[in-house]
Structures are given as structure tokens and as C-alpha cells.
Subunit: 323 residues, 2 copies
């Protein structure tokens, strides 16, 4: 029996799934230690896999393939981390193939976190019906990944489809942490909320001035009764609409799938985006579907597990060919 | 000997190239009659091909393959025109395969004009060194096409990469003819110039108020001495910079290749765009090259000729396989 492990390393949590060729048998969710080195986190990962393997009476050497979702740019062909955004910096020197081989005797598949979550959503979530869609994750930042013509979009430097949060929607807009101006992320993300609230001309008339913690849940709750919260909510929805129009015009997809904690308010978000985008986007064949993610936070670990399985099957097919 | 014909049908001109497998032997440039039906233009095309064939002592039946560049959305697999933008409307019912077969005994390859010009630039122009680039044509509108991973980007509905003129760069900006707001084309194109000049707050202090014809050549000439012209020029350059940043973030290319009559001023345009985009775009591996087209107006007919040749070779390879 072949077993597979999916690992989703995030800034705060590490999610691990172990399963066979039919399904995920067990998942585990442990704290990521971004204040420590990447190597320390690898030890945490190994220990966790050891525990769940013992629980399932599976040996390390029974693991055929590993899928690893890393929270920055990776070269998925050479299996190398390209950049690290100032966390897990020593991951750039890590030898992934050697690690998975010597530790588990397994193949490994390495992918950027946004693309891995998109892969998971495609193979086992809301993306199943489509060959062409854009996944958009709304949170601290705005992340994207693209499936086009039945394949993940990769690009020359491995970042095609992943910078949808940094498409300019207002070229004279707010400075973004990336160095550009008026990015989707700079105009409407959890990070942008602070500025939007503080600089709102009517902030003194708003309940928001008394809140110490301002997140999208606060904004969406208050929007029912508070004019400033309503204006900020609608501003964000308009920015996301412009972003989605750009994804449609850039990638020509069948669907946009949105994930992130904010989709708890999908009953407000989806109808708004559908109407606004429907009126703005150029799609002579009909409307692009705008949907909510099915897997949400688990899209990444699901994707990593399924990509591990896919990597193993690729190698098996190659062996059969060679015979 | 196999002969090939490339046809570039534009709104005002029809360009036709006839050649063999080594080179283009002869080109001809005739007036398009967009006030007439598409079928009338097909007759003009047939007559022109007849004339140049006679000049070259080539028979219709010696033509092995046709490449056709059409100025709107096409399904390049089924070889059908999808939409027509209110000119050559009867092209939607035209049977391209039957026409090329019965008229010339030839294969046919049909493509959208922006993608065909990009193909020409890729195979025989400034795009030769690249597997991944975006071609941007500045003119009445702003057109784009993309080569990614060594293939033209097509998308689910055949318009991926072709709507770069309709990426939003100012979501609260000017209404575009496409129905969207703040498109690149609505903010900085020949069509946008009229509005930019008329609504400029200092227009009465500018030499531009006396000009009956205002095009980019006028703006770039006057910008040396006229403050309003300078501001409008720099506004357009800033919008194009934002557009290019969006192409880089969306498609992850090695290069942006710009064509259009305005590139007569490339000595001003290219350094400006390179500096501005270099400071804004997220490209950790280095700078994306920003270059001028080599083929300009002839990219389309070159692309059509080369795609005709490619289509023929594809069929020949298939025949060899079948033997």
C-alpha cells in the first residue's frame, strides 16, 4: 500500500495530512514557529509525522511521496525555494529532494502556498467542474493562483497568477508594501483597513472610533447600522470587483473562487460582486461564475496531499513506460 | 514547392504576403472596404492573391496553406469568428475551411489580429529571444497578446491575453467603450486624448487649444515647450507604466514589446517606462525588458504568413506519423 503526506507550512500553523491512495486518514494541526529557523520547523514536522504514523501503524518507509506547500515563491521544477519574505530564510539552502529521500524514501513535490491551495480546491473543492478558474484569497493580504486550460499557471519565474493582490487598480492610490501603488492589497485587505478607518473623513461620527480591534468581521457587522463602516465595506467590495474584472480580462476564466475568513459574510459579498462584476466585465459568452471556496483553510493541505499522490503516480507511469 | 499566404485584414488596410518555405516573396497592401460585407472583402482578397500569384508565376493550387488575421475574437480551433465589433459582421457565418479548400486546396489557420501580430513578432521580430513576453500595441485603442511558456496564451473563451487594454488601472476612472471603468484604453489612448485635452484645467493657457487634430505625435512634439501637453504626455506614460506593471504581475514575462505609430517617440517613451516600471514591478530575479517592436505594422501579416507555414508543417508531420 502506498501512503502520502501533505504538509502546509503557514506563518502561524503547520497542517499535515496522511492518507492512502483512496483518502486522507488523519490530519494534524500544530503551531508553526516562525521565530525559529526553518530547520527547527522541519524537525517539528518530522516529529508530527512520526506521531501520526505510529497512530496509524504506518512506517516512515511506507510513505511514497510528500507534497509540501511553502509560503513564498518556489521553483517547482528544481524543487528550491526562491524567496522567503523574511521568514524561514534558511529554507533557501534546504535540499528538499535529499530530505524526503533520506527521511522517508519518498518523492517530493514542492509548491507555493497559493498555487497549492488552488490545486486542492481544483481537485477536491469548488474548482472541480472547471478547467479555467482563478482562486482569490482575502485576508491579511490578497493572494491568487490560476488554473488555465487544465493546468496550474506557472510562468517564466514561477509567479504567474500569484500576484493578483498586486495588480494595480488605482495607479495614483496607496503605497503597497511591495513597492507598487494602488495594488488590490493596498486598497482593500485586513492590512489596509487600519488606514481606511483612520483616514475616513467622518470617523468621529462612527462607532469604529471606539473599537481597538478592527477586522473585516467588525466592518461587516457594523455596516448594518454605521455609515462609515458601510462606506468602507462597499469601498472594499468595489476594489475586489475591479480586481476580479482584471482577473477575468487577464486570464479568461470560467470562474472566480474566493476564500478567506471573510467569506463568513458570503451572503453579502457574493451577490454584490456578481452584480458589480457582471456589469463591468467583458465576457461575450456569458457571466463568469463567482463562487465561495469549499475547502477554505484546508485547501492547502488537501492540495499538498493530492499533489504528493500525483507526483507518485507520475513516477509510476514513467517506470511502466521504461519497462 | 510549397507556397504560403498570410492575410492581415484590418479596419482600413488588407495586407497580403506570398512566399515559399524560405521567405516572403511578395507583399501587397490594398484598401479594406469595411462599409461593404465581409464577402466583398474576401473577393478583394482573392483578386489580390490572383494578381500576385500571376506575377510570381504560381498557381492557386500551389498554395499549401493560408494564415488569416481577423480583427476580432476568433475560435482558432473550430476556425470560426466569435464576435465582430460591428464590422465584417457576415464573417461569423463564413466557412473558412471550406473557402481555403475549395479556392486554393489549402489548409487554413485563423487567429485574432493581436495574437497574430504577437506571433509574427515572436517568430521574426523583437520577440525571438523569449519564451514569455507581452506584446502591447498603442493606438486608437490599446491591444495586447501574450506568449507564455513558448505558446500563445489562448484561454477558455479565446481571449486570454487580448484584453490588456481593458485592465482597470483606476477603478473610479473614466468610462470605457467596453462598459468597464478606468481601463488602460479609457485613460490613455488616441481615443482618450480628446477628453484629456478638453478637460485639462489649464487648457486655455495651452497651444493645444488651437489645434484641430490632436494625436500622440502632437502631444509628444508640444511637450517640449507646452506644460499642458507635457502633463498629458506624462499622464499617459504613467498609465502605460501601471498597465505594464499589471502585465508583469499577471503573466510573469521576460519582456514587454511595444508597437504602434507612437513608438516614433521611443527615445522618450522607453527610458521613462523602464525607470518607472523598474521601480514599481515585483520581479525579484531582475528587470523585465521593455522593448520596441521590430516589425510594427507588418507584425500581423508576417505572423499570418508564418502561421500558414506552421499549419502546413503540422499537417505534414501528422501524415508522416500516420504512414
Amino acid at each position: 500500500m502506498a501512503y502520502f503526506v501533505g504538509i502546509d507550512l503557514g506563518g502561524t500553523r503547520i497542517k499535515i495530512a496522511l492518507g492512502d491512495d483512496k483518502r486522507i486518514l488523519i490530519t494534524r494541526n500544530v503551531k508553526a514557529r516562525k521565530e525559529l529557523s526553518f530547520m527547527s520547523n522541519i524537525r517539528i514536522i518530522e516529529d508530527t509525522i512520526k506521531v501520526i504514523c505510529e497512530e496509524q501503524k504506518i512506517m516512515f518507509m511506507d510513505i511514497s511521496s510528500i507534497g509540501f506547500s511553502f509560503p513564498s515563491l518556489v521553483n517547482n521544477e528544481l524543487k528550491k525555494v526562491i524567496s522567503t519574505n523574511d521568514k524561514f530564510n534558511d529554507a533557501k539552502e534546504f535540499d528538499w529532494v535529499e530530505w524526503s529521500k533520506s527521511t522517508f524514501g519518498a518523492y517530493i513535490s514542492l509548491e507555493n502556498d497559493a498555487r497549492m491551495a488552488c490545486y486542492g480546491e481544483w481537485k477536491s473543492g469548488a474548482g472541480r467542474p472547471f478547467t479555467d478558474f482563478v482562486m482569490m484569497t482575502l485576508g491579511t493580504g490578497v493572494g491568487t493562483a490560476v488554473i488555465m486550460d487544465g493546468n496550474p499557471l506557472v510562468g517564466k519565474h514561477f509567479q504567474a497568477g500569484n500576484l493578483g493582490g498586486h495588480l494595480t487598480v488605482d495607479y495614483a492610490g496607496a503605497l503597497c508594501s511591495c513597492g507598487n501603488r494602488g495594488c488590490v492589497e493596498a486598497e482593500a485587505s485586513s492590512t489596509a483597513l487600519k488606514r481606511l478607518v483612520e483616514t475616513h473623513p467622518k470617523i468621529l461620527e462612527s462607532e469604529l472610533k471606539n473599537r481597538s480591534k478592527i477586522d473585516f468581521a467588525t466592518i461587516f457587522d457594523l455596516a448594518e447600522s454605521d455609515l462609515v463602516a458601510l462606506e468602507i465595506r462597499d469601498h472594499c467590495l468595489d476594489v475586489w470587483s475591479a480586481a476580479i474584472v482584471n482577473y477575468i480580462h487577464a486570464y479568461d476564466p470560467e470562474a472566480i473562487i474566493i476564500s478567506g475568513g471573510i467569506m463568513n459574510s458570503k451572503k453579502i459579498i457574493l451577490p454584490y460582486l456578481r452584480e458589480k462584476v457582471g456589469g463591468l466585465a467583458w465576457s461575450p459568452w456569458g457571466h463568469v461564475a463567482i463562487l465561495s471556496s469549499e475547502l477554505n483553510d484546508n485547501a492547502g493541505v488537501n492540495g499538498a496531499f493530492l499533489m504528493a499522490k500525483n507526483e507518485f503516480e507520475k513516477h509510476e507511469r514513467k517506470k511502466i513506460k521504461l519497462r
